[in-house]
């Protein structure tokens, strides 16, 4: 008995088209941000300055461009691999519209400065909840489809989807635990070192389980389809899957080498990162070898071309990643543009090219027609490839050489480049080349949009594609002496739980010790909570996205202590909700900026950076001199801090604003001495208060550090 049913192509088409739309928008925002780095006047408004657009760029390309592509590709392949329609058309629609609404919310809130200040997790708590709900809808729809399937065994691509779903859910929830003080503002529940560890456990695994595993699932489906030949080794794909998800989850701490994170956690991150090379390259070779004997087709088929370069970029990025987690290499590359180049090999090479290949393959099929122009698709391929090279190569050089400049000493033992800005101006050419590379890449995308449009208008959407298959019951094999894995393979729920255990063990072993052991974070008695005004200033610092260009983590190198001052200690950050260590230095580190300059210096510098630092590429912040500080939230903020364990006195929240006014008066008086008539209610006063406080507690005379009792 054969059952007839229909595949839902409409939902795939919807997800695919918004992938392209948001992709273009996300890339254009990225291009704008790239130009802002060389032409400061492109920071055209408070909502359009680099610090706010950069999170918009990363969130848009990760969650809108790549995210929608995951849904498009998995909805297409799930139906066909399981020989059934998606579980529920209604859930598909809720998933689609819900996700787009979340993206729209991000597009509105991020430029408005509503941010948690944690990279790739910047969205505020109401949106975090919405993401969770829509993710659950996706999960129910996927598991429902799996349960009503007509194919007993789950193809490896589906394992990747399941692992993606379960891990992203875990990461998102754990990293987003925050205490709201209003609808648009919350504080990370974690502080300092713990916040950093959770954040980079999340950040690293967002790369692993949002940008990598779902795309490997897509690779294992679409590459054999496009090449019309089976995957090179199915056994290798199984090894690839289990070792990848097991290893990936441990590697997060490699983002925090030489930081105040405990040494054992750093080493753990490095060891597992190195081991990751094996499964990653196993997977890459599995992809490329699938094309064995079909290389003649690669020459003429743009889809295969895109896939080949995508998989090659995957291989490059996953070799480079582990190398970057070696401390000696990390010491050079971290905080520089090297990392930006590295992530774009992954982003525009691996993810971008997989998506383009998939789009060129899917659109003609779903519209029952031929691709409008293979020539244009080939042109897109070459423009894209050239774009990647032009983007990445200059930044590799820029990162490497800037890092060397940071570390260069004269024979007498002085820094050759004591002024940070000089090292930045040296690499401006590379920044321009990056702008050109990005533009070339985006030009290719425009060609694709035209090509897809033409193809669409030449055909007609096959919204419901006829299919047939025998029902599952009839497929029962006479006798199956099963192994545990075949048992798991047939049972999606067990598969989901096993995946969760595998990734959960890694997460728990990595994170829990840092939380359990009070002695892991040595307390420094001179470190005190922020004053209310400093806290306000810190929130503005987070709002403006200062962390996108400035780190607050001096590493224990002579070149850094010489330039910035004492290196960062774990105990200094215990009241930092969220931590602000940063990941990139387009400007100098700010951990020891407190008391380094007079208040007036900051006043002038924030109004026009070039006045204090000629040639500076930093955006100006004139709106801080116009907007009034919102002191209605002071009490709530202090109360929130108390809830999270920051030791303010009991009656303090009620009188916090008195403290605010007193400190404002002191700063205004100091400014007056330097001939500046400032209004104390302005936001700039709070920013100055914070900047003058950062990293100064450790300078207090009495430094009592309690060493960990169990190192």
């Amino acid at each position: 008995m054969i059952e007839r049913f229909q595949y839902d192509n409409r939902i795939v088409k919807n997800f695919l088209f918004v992938t392209i739309l948001w992709g273009l928008i996300g890339m254009l925002v990225g291009l704008t941000a790239a130009i802002q780095l060389v032409v400061p006047s492109w920071n055209f408004a408070d909502w359009g300055s680099f610090g706010r657009l950069r999170p918009l760029h990363t969130n848009a390309v990760i969650f809108a461009f790549v995210g929608n592509a995951i849904f498009a590709g998995s909805y297409y392949s799930l139906q066909r691999l399981l020989k059934t329609r998606m579980f529920s058309d209604a859930l598909s629609a809720i998933h689609f519209w819900g996700w787009q609404l979340i993206i729209v919310a991000a597009v509105i809130t991020l430029p408005l400065g509503m941010t948690t200040g944690k990279e790739y997790a910047e969205l505020e708590w109401p949106i975090d909840i919405a993401i969770t709900l829509i993710w659950v809808v996706f999960g129910i729809n996927m598991m429902g489809t799996i349960i009503k399937r007509r194919e007993r065994h789950l193809y490896v691509a589906i394992w990747f989807y399941i692992a993606t779903w379960v891990t992203v859910a875990m990461l998102h929830i754990v990293n987003s635990i925050e205490l709201p003080i209003s609808f648009t503002k919350s504080y990370s529940w974690y502080a300092g070192v713990q916040d950093a560890l959770v954040q980079w456990w999340y950040g690293h695994n967002a790369v692993a389980f949002f940008l990598t595993t779902p795309f490997l699932g897509l690779m294992y489906y679409f590459l054999p389809k496009a090449a019309n030949r089976p995957v090179y080794s199915y056994k290798l794909s199984i090894i690839h899957f289990w070792s990848l998800i097991f290893l990936y989850i441990w590697a997060g701490p490699h983002h925090l080498l030489y930081s105040a994170l405990p040494e054992w956690a750093q080493s753990l991150g490095t060891v597992f990162s190195i081991m990751l090379i094996a499964p990653s390259w196993g997977g890459m070779l599995n992809g490329l070898l699938t094309l064995r004997g079909a290389w003649d087709r690669v020459r003429e088929d743009p889809v295969l071309k895109f896939f080949v370069v995508a998989v090659t970029c995957y291989g490059m990025a996953t070799l480079e990643g582990p190398l970057l987690s070696l401390k000696s290499i990390n010491a050079i590359a971290h905080f520089t543009d090297w990392i930006i180049a590295h992530v774009h090999i992954g982003g525009i090479g691996w993810n971008g090219f997989m998506i383009f290949g998939m789009a060129y393959w899917l659109v003609p099929r779903m519209y029952g027609t031929k691709l409008h122009s293979v020539k244009l698709a080939n042109a897109h391929f070459w423009l894209g490839t050239l774009g990647i090279v032009l983007y990445a190569v200059p930044l590799y050089f820029a990162g490497f050489f800037q890092s060397l400049m940071w570390k260069q000493f004269t024979p007498d033992g002085f820094l050759v480049y004591p002024n940070f800005l000089d090292t930045l101006l040296e690499i401006r050419t590379a920044y321009w080349l990056r702008v050109i590379g990005g533009s070339v890449y985006i030009t290719g995308v425009l060609l694709m949009i035209y090509n897809v449009r033409k193809t669409v208008s030449a055909g007609k959407l096959i919204a419901n594609e006829d299919a047939e298959a025998p029902p599952l019951e009839k497929l029962v094999e006479a006798k199956e002496t099963g192994h545990w894995h075949r048992w798991v393979e047939r049972r999606p729920i067990q598969m989901l739980i096993l995946s969760l255990i595998v990734v959960g063990i890694g997460g728990v072993l990595e994170i829990v010790p840092t939380f359990l052991v009070k002695s892991n974070v040595p307390t420094i008695s001179s470190v005190k909570p922020y004053t209310p005004l400093e806290l306000h200033g810190r929130d503005i610092y987070v709002r403006e996205g200062c962390y996108t260009c400035h780190s607050q983590m001096v590493r224990p190198f002579r070149s850094e202590t010489e330039r910035y001052g004492e290196y960062g200690k774990a105990g200094e950050f215990v009241y930092d909700h969220p931590f602000q260590w940063g990941s990139k230095r387009t400007g100098p580190d700010l951990l020891r900026v407190g008391k380094k300059y007079p208040d007036s210096w900051h006043y002038y510098h924030m109004y026009d950076p070039t006045s204090m630092s000629p040639g500076s590429l930093m955006p100006a912040y004139p709106h801080l001199f116009e907007d009034l500080l919102d002191t209605t939230t002071t009490r709530k903020k202090i109360e929130a801090m108390i809830t999270m364990g920051v030791p303010y006195d009991e009656g303090f929240p009620a009188m916090a604003n008195t403290d605010v006014i007193a400190q404002q008066d002191r700063i205004v008086a100091a400014l007056k001495k330097d001939g500046i008539e400032a209004q104390k209610e302005m936001e700039i006063i709070a920013v100055i208060a914070y900047l003058q406080r950062v990293g100064t507690d450790i300078k207090a005379k009495e430094i009592v550090e309690t060493k960990p009792t169990n190192p």
Binding site: R80, L81, K83, E151, H153, Y155, V156, A157, W189, Y190, Y220, Y221, K225, N228, P230, V231, Y234, K235, I238, I239, W242, F246, W250, W264, S267, L268, V271, F272, M275, E300, D301, P302, Y360, P364, R365, T369, K370, L371, H372, S373, V374, A377, A467, A469, H483, W484, H485, I505, G506, L509, P513, F515, L516, V517, K518, S519, N520, G645, T709, N710
Partner: protein, 67 residues
């Protein structure tokens, strides 16, 4: 809840054991997986490998006849 965990457990013995535990866990998991892969039947692998290609009704060459 986190406050409870943070402030009531002040020490944890043998923190250095964690990397060792993780390594042993991974290694035994990996060996088990290899053992399973070795013993899985050829027929099953062939079935799985063919899955993505099985449902193809449309010709796979929509690109090649375009201009």
């Amino acid at each position: 809840m986190l406050k409870f965990i943070k402030h009531h457990m002040d020490t944890i013995a043998g923190i250095g054991l964690y990397p060792a535990i993780s390594f042993v866990l991974f290694f035994s998991f990996f060996l088990g997986m290899l053992w399973w892969i070795r013993s899985v039947s050829k027929g099953h692998i062939a079935h799985m490998t063919a899955l993505p290609l099985a449902e193809d009704k449309q010709p796979n060459d929509s690109l090649h006849h375009a201009n």
